[in-house]
């Protein structure tokens, strides 16, 4: 019996292959986008972990220079000979690769890749520098390395002697403090006063920094998943409605309710598995395509290295599978309850599900309004990334639920104003179709408003960022100085030529529990003319020049809640007021700007490592500097190059967002196509009488097309305000939490109009197929309607 029942249930999909496709494809897309995003996140986290493990960052406290970037070898030896168990690390950038030299003799156990230190893989000859295959390729022209794929991407690690030889230097970058120290040791300050201890948690902030980025991706993945689930839900609903007759017949024939529900559950599970597995495969493809861009973004924005190669990890494909099954399960559960409650001999009216709609709409309106009220309250109170996303969730869900209710009202209004029979019928019929299409329309609404919101955010960001770059990158040429001597030489050279010279001196400080980059600047007309403050005290530049305060960047000001008037301690015993807060887009780090003289006084030995120079002819100056001072061209970059590089980073940052956006829109269009296709079948009984009254199939087809476009237009009208609200949340809450800066919101009506046009075209294309099928429906099929159920 079970076999027969199963065959009977499955036969439905044979008759309605489109529903089957909609079910499986919907689930596959939902799972695909979700697991693709998760695959990217998992890969990135694995990379951070690998890096942290290889370098011991986050595990061990470290000693770093108070100023500058150099730990003299003598300091290391002095510390060891005083009883400090420290291990040297020498680090440098070789192109995009981070080259790290460690001393396996003194390094804590587990530091470095174990395989690179393994007897079997470490031959007696050859280089003792190791990197994974991808990194080795990047280094192939400069450095001979051995391949060890356990090493984190973008990292080459080697014996310190080899690394120092390659870098041609003696000094170190930092010292790792081993967890076990001997009984007695003198104070750090009595041996190496220029070094400071940095606690382990403060060094491993890549994962924290990038958290916001990954949460962004996750949110997008979840949005796509929800849109996909709408498809699944509507398909399951439709399949159940159409099988009411069959289910009633089977029950009447004596199939126990329990068996029937178990069988349907098994059927759903099977289909969900197929959909989910296809989705996981799709997710892999999506992730593999997007990963290189994500990697570039993370490198550009946070300096985090992640691998460009994707691995098939259980974490992400299991989560995709689980979500797909749970989603299907939820959609199925409510239907199962309906089947259980359905009287055995209930009439199998195919449109019964649409008729109960009136009461359901009222309930939906209530829920939608409740959600929107909560969203409104959240918008006024919440801050932080998670809060921002919860707010987005309430807002989008509330709006999506509200949409069918509003659309119903709009249709009623239009219907009342159209007295001609054909248009009265058209609007009434459109309204009648709303319940069947509502899930697909909600999906489209979410996708379009997400597009509007994200486009607004990205474009606002771009406008602000480009303006910011123009102000901030005023100097025409930037030169890097390698040593104090070179710095001094450069300064004299530039002074002699009478050029406006803007030296930058770097230091580090702990302020309000955060690692802060201190930048010493020389107050000059360029700063006065170009810096735009978000908040500033009067005569800010004069006071900075007089060493009477500091300027914080926005992200630091927000994170530490320090504004003009607050006092910060930038060095032991030196507390200064905050004189200004300045926008600093694209920089993940906290930064405080102060006078050049002040930083020299606080950190003796600091020198200008970088110079910005105002000149009319940067190319000539660059050549002059190379020839006179023997500073290589590689130590210089002109304004144009720097701007291009910055903008490039920016564009790549949002490439992934844009790609996900397009994919979400695609899923929504697919939802509409599937809904229209399935509706087309069951709408024949509505269309047949109109045809019988003298309408041609062609005229009917045109009306159907018009209906799809009209509905899409309605969705778009609703999506614009929703999208703008979304943009506001993104700019005012999510971005502030994720990046630390708040951007002004600009409006882009032309972009929205174009997007509206796309939505209409997408709807028309989605409707084209069902419409062409309608136009080709043989008259006999239309006639049959009258001999069937009516």
């Amino acid at each position: 019996m079970i076999h027969t029942c199963l065959i009977a249930l499955l036969s439905h999909w044979l008759h309605k292959p489109l529903q089957l496709v909609a079910f499986i494809a919907g689930l596959a897309m939902a799972t695909g986008l979700w697991s693709g995003v998760q695959a990217i996140n998992t890969e990135a986290r694995a990379s951070y972990d690998a890096a942290a493990n290889t370098l011991g960052e986050g595990q061990y406290d470290q000693l770093r220079p108070r100023t500058g970037t150099i730990v003299p070898l003598a300091d290391y030896v002095a510390l060891r000979r005083a009883g400090w168990q420290v291990s040297p690390v020498s680090e440098a950038r070789v192109g995009d690769v981070r080259l790290v030299g460690i001393d396996p003799l003194t390094a804590p156990e587990g530091l470095g890749s174990t395989t690179s230190l393994d007897v079997q893989t470490a031959p007696e000859t050859g280089p003792r520098i190791f990197a994974n295959a991808e990194t080795a390729r990047q280094l192939s022209e400069t450095l001979d390395v051995q391949i060890d794929n356990a090493i984190a991407p973008g990292l080459a690690i080697g014996d310190i002697s080899e690394v120092q030889k390659f870098l041609g230097r003696d000094h170190l970058t930092r010292l790792i403090i081993l967890p076990e120290q001997p009984l007695n040791q003198p104070d750090l300050s009595s041996i190496a006063p220029n070094l400071q201890r940095v606690a382990s948690s403060q060094t491993a902030d890549i994962a924290q920094l990038t958290d916001s980025f990954h949460l962004n991706l996750t949110a997008f993945g979840l949005l796509s998943f929800v849109v996909g689930l709408f498809i699944v839900n509507s398909t399951i609903g439709l399949a159940f409605e159409q099988r009411r007759g069959m289910i009633r017949t089977m029950r009447a024939l004596g199939v126990p309710l329990r068996n029937l529900i178990i069988l349907i559950a098994a059927e759903m599970l099977l289909l969900a598995m197929i959909g989910a597995l296809l989705g996981i495969a799709l997710g892999y493809v999506i992730a593999a395509l997007l990963l290189p861009d994500v990697a570039a973004t993370l490198r550009g924005l946070y300096g985090a290295q992640i691998t460009g190669a994707l691995q098939f990890r259980a974490e992400w494909w299991l989560s995709g599978l689980a979500l797909a099954l749970i989603g299907t399960g939820i959609a199925f559960a409510s239907r199962a309850v309906q089947i259980a409650r359905m009287p055995v001999l209930a009439s199998a009216r195919p449109r019964a599900w649409a008729m109960v709609n009136a009461t359901r709409l009222r309930l939906q309106l209530f829920v939608a309004l409740a959600l929107l009220v909560i969203a409104g309250i959240l918008a006024l109170t919440v801050d932080g990334l998670l809060g921002g996303f919860v707010l987005l969730g309430f807002m989008l869900l509330g709006a999506a639920l509200l949409f069918p209710v509003l659309a119903d009202r709009v249709m009623t209004l239009i219907e009342a104003r159209n007295r001609t029979p054909i248009w009265a019928w058209f609007w009434a019929d459109t309204r009648q179709q709303l319940p069947g299409l509502s899930l697909a329309l909600m999906a489209l609404l979410l996708a379009v408003s997400a597009n509007i919101g994200v486009a607004t955010m990205v474009s606002s960001f771009r406008l602000t960022f480009v303006g910011f770059l123009d102000q901030r990158l005023a100097p025409e040429l930037y030169v890097q100085a390698e040593s104090p001597a070179q710095s001094l030489m450069l300064e004299n050279f530039l002074q002699k030529r009478g050029l406006e010279t803007l030296p930058l001196l770097a230091g580090e400080a702990q302020i309000a529990g955060q690692n802060v980059r201190l930048l010493g600047i020389r107050v000059a007309p360029t700063y006065r003319d170009n810096w735009r403050f978000l908040d500033a005290a009067p005569d800010v530049w004069d006071k900075i020049a007089a060493q009477q305060g500091v300027i914080l960047n926005e992200q630091f000001a927000r994170r530490a809640d320090l504004w003009v008037g607050s006092v910060v301690e930038i060095a032991p015993g030196t507390a200064l007021p905050v004189l200004g807060v300045v926008g600093d887009y694209g920089n993940p780090n906290a930064q405080a700007n102060l006078s050049e003289d002040l930083i020299k006084r606080l950190f003796p030995g600091t020198y200008a490592q970088r110079y910005g120079i105002r000149t009319d002819d940067p190319a000539a100056l660059q050549q002059d500097i190379t020839e006179t001072l023997r500073i290589p061209a590689s130590a210089m970059i002109d304004q144009e190059q720097l701007k291009t590089a910055s903008l490039d980073t920016f564009e790549r940052t949002f490439l992934v967002t844009a790609a996900l956006n397009v994919l979400t829109l695609g899923v929504a269009a697919f939802a509409i196509l599937m809904s229209l296709l399935t509706l087309a079948d069951i709408r024949l009984p509505q269309l047949a009488p109109v045809w019988a009254l003298g309408f041609t199939r062609r005229q009917l087809g045109r009306l159907e097309l018009l209906r799809a476009v009209a509905l899409a237009g309605l969705v778009f009208c609703f999506a614009v305000p929703l999208g703008l609200a979304l943009a506001w949340v993104l700019l005012a809450i999510v971005n502030v939490a994720a990046f630390g800066w708040r951007l002004p919101m600009f409006l882009f009506p032309y972009e929205y109009a174009a997007l509206g046009l796309y939505a209409l075209v997408a709807a028309a294309i989605a409707a084209a197929w069902p419409v062409s099928r309608l136009m080709r429906t043989p008259p006999s099929a239309l006639l049959q309607v009258f001999s069937h159920e009516r």
């Binding site: 060891r80 005083a82 003194t106 156990e109 393994d118 007897v119 003792r128 001997p182 009984l183």
Partner: protein, 350 residues
């Protein structure tokens, strides 16, 4: 084998084909090999010999506190070379490592240090004598007057040593043969140190005094291919005579032995293979191995027929290169009366 060990072996090239104890049985390409009839030049020879592959400065001491409790102390600085030369900077082929330990009747504490040559973190100068790695040091104006210190996370010591006898040379005037195939090392000792100072245990500092024995040995291939480890004894008899004897275990089950009898005035008598015997009496399970901690030791030519018993059988040096090393008590075999004390080192019990 732990990761640190791998690290060491990665740098020490002989590790890839480790044979014998820590690969001491491999051949010595490019390194100078010890030759018979050595002429030592002091104080220069107290310093390092970079053209030999392996070298050590090895101190063991039997100590007693005011309450009469016995303690053992060890301090060893090893030099191991990748190439037979020394250069300044990180590129130095000289690797230094050191072991320190304190043994009490119920406790054995040990720790180790590693360093590369060439950067000043570790090294030895002959005059004034100064052997150091990190903050550990053995130093003094001359080899007869030295101070010694070392510390770990849970113990430490600071001692003063004063020699009241001459250096003694093992084998043929310091040329100590280690196998029938002729493997050998240069080997001399200063077994006449009086030592006093403070040891620090987890329970606190304790003032101690006693006698110490310093071994100096360097070679390029001290073990033969078929030798897997050694059992080394240094015994100070109550009658002021001293005995150094070792037994090299060979893979075919046989032994190669050697011994030096040191009279109270420092005159020595070397004994060739077979004269000295050491036979395990009972073993003890430590660190997952069975290690002989009771021995029957005899040198019939000197009427030596004694039992040697570990003061603390758990004196396992659980370090990158693991071995057993600890103080022993020496009793007459037949009567059981105490006749001396000393140190026992057993390697190769993998």
């Amino acid at each position: 084998m732990n990761v640190r060990m791998l690290a060491v072996l990665c740098i020490l090239p002989f590790a890839a084909v480790a044979q014998g104890f820590s690969g001491l049985g491999t051949t010595a390409d490019g390194f100078t090999a010890p030759a018979p009839n050595p002429v030592f030049d002091f104080p220069r020879d107290h310093g390092p010999h970079p053209d030999y592959r392996i070298e050590w400065w090895y101190i063991t001491a039997n100590l007693t506190d005011a309450d009469g409790t016995d303690y053992g102390l060890q301090w060893t600085l090893f030099r191991s070379a990748l190439e037979p030369n020394e250069t300044a900077g990180w590129d130095s082929p000289q690797v230094w490592f050191a072991h320190a330990a304190i043994t009490t009747p119920g406790l054995h504490l040990s720790t180790e240090r590693f360093a590369r040559g060439g950067i000043g973190q570790a090294g030895v100068t002959a005059a004034p004598f100064h052997a150091w790695i990190d903050e550990w040091a053995l130093l003094g104006p001359d080899f007869d007057t030295l101070s010694l210190n070392a510390q770990g996370p849970d113990f430490g010591y600071s001692m003063a040593l004063k020699a009241n006898g001459p250096l003694v040379f093992h084998g043929e005037d310091g040329f100590s043969v280690k196998s029938a195939e002729g493997q050998a090392s240069y080997y001399y000792s200063q077994p006449f140190y009086q030592i006093e100072g403070t040891i620090t245990l987890p329970s606190g500092p304790i003032a101690v005094r006693g006698d110490a024995w310093l071994d100096r040995e360097w070679s390029s291939q001290p073990l033969s291919d078929n030798q897997s480890g050694w059992d080394w004894f240094s015994i100070s008899f109550q009658d002021e005579n001293k005995l150094m004897g070792f037994r090299l275990r060979q893979t075919d089950g046989s032994f190669y032995t050697s011994a030096t009898w040191i009279a109270a005035d420092g005159t020595t008598t070397p004994y060739p293979d077979g004269a000295f015997t050491a036979t395990p009496l009972n073993s003890h399970r430590v660190a997952g191995r069975d290690v002989p901690v009771g021995w029957h030791v005899s040198l019939p030519d000197r009427d030596v027929d004694v039992t040697v018993t570990a003061m603390n059988p758990d004196a396992w040096m659980d370090l990158s290169v693991p071995y057993w090393e600890g103080p022993v008590t020496v009793k007459d075999k037949s009567s059981g009366t105490p006749v001396g004390r000393g140190y026992l080192e057993m390697t190769g019990y993998e």
